[in-house]
């Protein structure tokens, strides 16, 4: 069950001030009182039985308009000479603001005690129904930035080989400053010339576009929805950016609208069956909600809800909802 909410945000570490601002921004976004490009949509996963906040996630409508959005574009350079028989393909990193104006799959945080019952999938994928419903609020392209590789001690080989020489600080400090929304120091300290990848350490080269082990599941989830590495990486840790056209996201493409029918006979969702669940959204911007139901609830044009489910979704018989299977078929 996802709805916009501010409860319990203080449980997110190190971010109180920023989160409060984000919240204000999110409320204004749902009310459409901000310019399109400044809107951010914040969703909360709530346990309806206990009113407990289980997690939050966000969508940015358009990145790079307030702060500058930096990536390295990973380009190919061919060094070839027929005369002496050389043909060598290397990579070059170009400091880039190319993703400016894309929408973004942003923050996701799930409370540890709720990491079960498909909650993670619901929280993350519920956003696709929002994108399917309100494409006019977003750009054509959407991206997600993945945490880059670092070892057990938190060392980022990419940072050690590149950023450290220019920023003269620890990776965690640079990351923290960026998190605070202070990106001026990037313009000031960042190397501006393209970086020849072969001049980085072997360790750094190996992690270009590679995610942190803990981020593998999130990456797999995005890929299953059609996201692909777009040749942009994080300037600090080399983590990949993945992207797709919103219209090509699996859950957007496959989602369908149904008329609501109310019935006590509707089967209850079994959270243990991975492929037996549908996400259903109420299609309402101001009171946006998504709920998991059993796939048996969907007929050809009608989606059958139990009265309690309809209440949670704020829908009545005859209203329309949008639904799609929680997971892609292949998985």
């Amino acid at each position: 069950m996802a709805k916009h909410s501010g409860v319990g945000v203080t449980s997110l570490p190190d971010n109180r001030q920023k989160m409060a601002a984000k919240l204000d921004q999110a409320l204004a976004s749902f009310e459409k009182s901000l310019p399109l490009t400044e809107r951010v949509y914040l969703f909360a996963l709530v346990d309806e039985s206990t009113e407990e906040l289980a997690g939050i996630c966000a969508l940015e409508s358009s990145i790079g308009h307030g702060d500058v959005w930096y990536n390295y574009h990973v380009g190919k350079s061919v060094h070839a000479s027929r005369e002496i028989g050389v043909h060598k393909i290397t990579q070059t990193l170009y400091l880039s603001n190319d993703l400016t104006g894309c929408s973004e799959i942003a923050t996701l945080f799930l409370m540890p005690n709720f990491r079960n019952n498909q909650n993670g999938h619901l929280l993350s994928r519920s956003r696709y129904l929002f994108l399917a419903e309100f494409p006019e609020l977003f750009g054509d392209e959407i991206i997600a930035e993945m945490r880059g590789y670092s070892d057990e001690d938190g060392n980022s080989p990419f940072w050690e080989s590149l950023g450290r020489h220019f920023f003269q600080m620890e990776f965690s400090d640079a990351d923290y400053l960026t998190g605070l929304g202070n990106k001026v120091f990037i313009a000031e300290l960042m190397p501006k010339f393209p970086i020849h990848v072969p001049m980085l350490t072997a360790e750094a080269q190996a992690v270009i576009g590679r995610v942190h082990p803990q981020t593998e599941p999130a990456l797999a989830m995005l890929k299953s929805e059609g996201f692909e590495f777009n040749h942009y990486i994080d300037i600090f840790d080399g983590g990949p950016s993945v992207g797709t056209k919103i219209k090509n996201i699996r859950a957007v493409r496959e989602s369908k609208t149904y008329q609501v029918g109310i019935s006590d006979q509707t089967p209850a969702p079994d959270f243990g069956v991975k492929h037996g669940l549908l996400m259903v959204s109420n299609r309402q911007l101001g009171e946006y909600r998504v709920l998991l139901v059993d796939q048996g609830a969907a007929g050809d044009d009608t989606l059958w809800l139990k009265p309690a489910q309809a209440k949670i979704l704020h829908v009545r018989a005859g209203d329309t909802v949008r639904a799609v299977s929680l997971r892609p078929k292949e998985l």
Binding site: S77, H79, A80, S81, E83, I84, V86, K88, T90, T92, S161, L162, H165, F166, F167, Q168, M169, L177, N182, V184, F185, E188, L189, P191, F193, P194, I195, H196, P198, M199, L200
Partner: protein, 337 residues
């Protein structure tokens, strides 16, 4: 007597022997006979002032013992470095990375690919028999080039440069090359060096990495050799410093060796050069000078003693006159050793 004169085709065998013996790295002198013969032919055109509009001149000199006719060394000049094509160097510069907010300010050294030295007069192809390294012959062979330039100054750029060998070991391992060029040329230093002497320079434009190189990204053993000369080039550096050359911001793009630079007119040889009319005769005593004739095609330069004096003519010994092919009344140039 040791004599410096233009190379001719009859020097081919001698130069080959020299290159084999000295095992020197002389990028601009190929060991292959065909290529070497081409170089001599180009030089020939240069001395004859006959370049067929085929681009700027090159000059190759040899050091010969007039008694034994043995060759003991070579030296050369390119009237215009790059000969019409880009002459590649890295230029060492610094970029300031400073953050007002974070109170950080540091200077980051960066190597910029540069063609700035293209067209300068380039001293090159210096090889000498190791037995003569510590002799006057070394100075003669090197400085004779400046004597030639002085006699034909309209054909040369006012700024003169010399690339000095950088750091590499006997096996050809070169830390700067291994950290920079090798990653793109995909070959070891000696192979790249070999191609440089053999092929057109097109492959340089095709292969050399174009973006600036941030020095902190290089391994320390490579950055430590930036602008460092090979120990074998110490004598060359000393001579050139004495001539008034100084280190520039430029380094060799292959081995990172320094490029030395001077204004022709301020070099020791040229700022102290005098021109007078020769009076061959018996000469006793006096100071040692570089002495050259004023011929273009048949240029010759030796070391001999002179008593410099007032007036338009000067006495030179008969054997010097003979070696220089100079008759009484011909102009000669001389500069203190």
């Amino acid at each position: 007597m040791l004599l410096v004169r233009p190379s001719t085709f009859s020097d081919l065998a001698g130069i080959e022997r020299l290159l084999d013996d000295t095992d020197a790295r002389v990028t601009t002198l190929p060991k292959e006979r065909d290529k070497l013969s081409e170089k001599i032919s180009e030089s020939d055109d240069g001395f004859r002032g006959d370049t067929d509009g085929e681009g700027p001149s090159s000059f190759l000199f040899v050091l010969q013992d007039t008694d034994s006719n043995e060759l003991y060394g070579t030296s050369g000049i390119d009237a215009e470095a790059g000969c019409g094509y880009p002459f590649f160097n890295y230029r060492l510069d610094e970029i300031v990375h400073a953050s007002h907010h974070l109170n950080i300010s540091s200077k980051v050294p960066v190597l910029f690919l540069s063609h700035e030295l293209t067209g300068r007069t380039l001293l090159r192809s210096f090889t000498i028999d190791p037995a003569l390294t510590k002799s006057d012959g070394f100075d003669l062979l090197s400085r004779a080039r400046l004597m030639y330039i002085a006699a034909n100054s309209d054909r040369f750029h006012q700024e003169v440069i010399a690339e000095i060998q950088g750091i590499f070991d006997e096996k050809g391992a070169c830390p700067f090359w291994d950290a920079v060029g090798r990653k793109f040329f995909d070959m070891d230093f000696l192979t790249a060096d070999y191609y440089c002497s053999m092929k057109s320079k097109t492959f340089m434009s095709e292969l050399i990495p174009q973006h600036p190189v941030y020095v902190p990204l290089l391994p320390p053993e490579a950055s430590a050799t930036i602008g460092q000369n090979h120990p074998a080039a110490n004598r060359t550096c000393q001579l050139l410093y004495r001539e008034g050359f100084h280190r520039s911001k430029f380094i060799d793009p292959f081995d990172g060796g320094p490029v030395l630079k001077a204004q022709l007119r301020y070099t020791h040889t040229i700022s102290n050069i005098r021109f007078k009319t020769a009076r061959p005769s018996d000469v006793v005593g006096g100071m040692k000078y570089l002495i050259s004739n004023q011929s273009n095609q048949d240029f010759r330069c030796v070391i001999g003693t002179l008593v410099d004096g007032i007036g338009d003519s000067i006495r030179i010994s008969l054997d010097v006159a003979d070696a220089l092919n100079v008759q009484a009344g011909d102009d000669i140039a001389y500069s203190p050793l």
